[in-house]
């Protein structure tokens, strides 16, 4: 029983790491530009498929490094062409446009790569179990958690200590002043959007190694990412991170006791948070 619970907690952590990577990207974009990116799951799928197409030429490691960058590039183009027209308009329109974009990306992936599940193999060095007793600790899973952790740490370091990170943080608080101080906020928003999409692309490559490839691969991850942001509190990246891990573990543990509620439980958790603390766990007051 202990082993079963441990297994599911660990599983939950992995899923939570995906949610967190997705949600951090969404949160970055939402905080600076006020756009909820419904198409985030579509970008994740493209990250996964880019890795699939690159792997034969560059190997797994090359694909892992290049695919998120390519996805970020795609995100950059989309921001320049479409998303930037939404800034300053009613948020309703950003929801609708990215909603349509999500459809287009999913269908686009289906047209290019087909709708059948494609295998995406990870190197053998990552595939063996690390421990006979805890069979679920395969190298790939531990690697995923480690890489997600490193990425999140790097993200926070960039935001904390680099000039552009500082500008993003300042822009979240008061974009107008940042602009008045001579920062090109158009470029800042593009970079920020691409950064968010980079995280989605990375999550996509990692997910492909675990789940296999399908055009709908991002669909199951996007809603929980919303929930992670709501639970963590709008405007707080650490909150988003905690929210993602929390719902991952919660759904993992629920799988042990009541499997059919493993999806619904995160929404119940969200309802509880909204009831007790409407601004979310780490949300600032007044930012609801």
């Amino acid at each position: 029983m202990t082993e079963l619970i441990l297994y599911n907690v660990f599983n939950g952590l992995i899923i939570g790491a995906f949610y967190a990577l997705m949600a951090l990207g969404l949160s970055l974009i939402l905080n600076l530009s006020g756009v909820i990116n419904f198409a985030h799951g579509g970008f994740l799928a493209f990250g996964a498929y880019f890795a699939y197409s690159l792997a034969p030429y560059f190997g797994f490691w090359g694909a892992l490094a290049a695919a998120p960058v390519l996805t970020a590039l795609l995100g950059f183009l989309v921001e320049r062409l479409l998303i930037r027209r939404l800034y300053g308009r009613d948020p309703l329109y950003s929801l609708l446009l990215t909603f349509g974009l999500a459809f287009m990306l999913q269908d686009g992936a289906r047209i290019v790569w087909g709708s059948e599940t494609l295998p995406f193999s990870v190197p053998g060095s990552l595939n063996n179990a690390l421990s006979a007793e805890y069979f679920f600790l395969t190298g790939y899973r531990v690697f995923m958690v480690a890489l997600a952790t490193a990425t999140v740490a790097a993200l926070f370091a960039v935001l904390r200590w680099t000039r552009i990170g500082m500008r993003i943080r300042a822009g979240v608080v008061d974009l107008e002043t940042v602009s008045a101080l001579g920062v090109n906020i158009g470029r800042l928003r593009s970079f920020n959007f691409a950064l968010g999409i980079f995280l989605a692309g990375l999550a996509g490559v990692l997910a492909a190694g675990m789940l296999g490839l399908q055009p709908t691969i991002g669909n199951d991850l996007i809603m929980p990412s919303f929930v992670a942001i709501i639970i963590g509190g709008l405007g707080s990246l650490p909150g988003t991170l905690v929210g993602g891990l929390l719902i991952g573990v919660a759904s993992g543990v629920t799988t042990v006791f009541f499997p059919s509620a493993s999806e619904a439980v995160i929404y119940v958790l969200m309802a509880l948070v909204l009831l007790v603390r409407p601004r979310g766990l780490f949300g600032e007051e007044g930012r609801q």
């Binding site: 309703l92 349509g100 619904a264 929404y267």
Partner: protein, 315 residues
């Protein structure tokens, strides 16, 4: 009478005339009666949503939840409890109202994009319940093996089961009733207050209006009629499926409202007509219909944000 007012009356009369005579001309324009019925059902849902989005200024992206709850409430009642159409509808609508009342209390103080996100997320609870609770809801396959029942009112029997035309008028009856109720609510002092909240919430609050209460009531009205539309939808198909609870369905309602024109009472009807007909046409023409619908969303947002009626009004 002012010319503007008589124009409006003429437009109303034309809309009702078209709706009332629909079974007689829909064949001639290449449609069929079930498609017309679907348009009316979806128009009801979109109009209900627009009560909130367009006339209260609150953005819900989760109305499929109540549309679906109404549907499953009706379907489950007719299938398992009592084979009675009207009773099933009543149960469906009440289910939607109860859920909306509880969820509304949780979220009514949220605004803007936060409100939208939370409504999307809440909707998914019901989706997963319908999806996972196989032995009752039929899960992914949907709730089937039941059908709407003819209605016996003692003095008259209405056969909505076998006659598609009768069922259309049955739907139109509820559509008319609902739209009249919403129009009436919007003309009342309550409705004017909603417009005031939409235009300037802070000022409304300073005037002493209990804003959260008003928004909650508007949300409740909106969800009620979305639930009613959901019951009509499952009766039309004799089938309830989890997709009608999914956030994609919510998005479609929003695009219908925007496409027709959020600021116009008839906007959602126009939007629903265009959207349903287009969806029907495109999905029969190509398997890449998702790209087309997606592109359609993008084009509307970028080029026609005021909707068809918004453009007509400006012109």
């Amino acid at each position: 009478m002012k010319p503007e007012r008589s124009w409006k009356l003429a437009a109303d009369a034309l809309v009702w005339l078209l709706l009332l005579t629909m079974p007689f001309w829909i064949g001639a324009v290449g449609g069929y009666i079930q498609l017309g019925t679907l348009v009316v059902v979806m128009a009801l849902a979109a109009t209900a949503l627009n009560f909130l989005i367009g006339f209260t200024g609150i953005m819900s992206f989760g109305h499929a939840a109540f549309f679906g709850l109404g549907g499953y409430g009706a379907g489950l009642t007719i299938k398992y409890l009592v084979p009675n159409t009207l009773l099933g509808m009543a149960v469906g609508v009440v289910t939607a109202i109860v859920a909306a009342a509880i969820i509304g209390k949780l979220i009514v103080h949220l605004r803007g994009i936060y409100f939208a996100m939370v409504t999307i997320a809440f909707g998914q609870i019901f989706y997963f319940i319908a999806f996972r609770w196989n032995n009752v809801t039929g899960g992914d396959d949907g709730l089937s093996n039941w059908h709407r029942m003819p209605i016996h009112l003692g003095f008259i029997n209405i056969d909505i089961l076998d006659s598609a035309v009768t069922f259309y008028y049955f739907v139109l009856f509820f559509f008319a009733l609902s739209l009249a109720a919403m129009a009436w609510a919007l003309r009342s002092p309550f409705g004017r207050t909603l417009l005031a909240i939409r235009e300037n919430e802070r000022r409304a609050r300073y005037l002493g209006i209990p804003v959260d209460n008003h928004i909650w009531l508007s949300w409740l009205i909106s969800c009620t009629f979305a639930g009613l539309a959901g019951t009509l939808y499952v009766l039309l198909n004799n089938f309830a499926d989890p997709h009608q609870l999914h956030w994609e369905q919510s998005g479609e309602f929003v695009i219908m409202a925007v496409l027709g024109g959020m600021r116009s009472f008839w906007g959602p009807l126009v939007g629903a007509t265009i959207f349903i007909v287009l969806q029907n046409y495109v999905s029969s023409m190509t398997e890449n219909w998702m790209s087309f619908i997606g592109l359609f969303f993008v084009v509307i947002v970028l080029f026609f944000p005021d909707g068809v009626l918004g453009i007509l009004r400006k012109a």
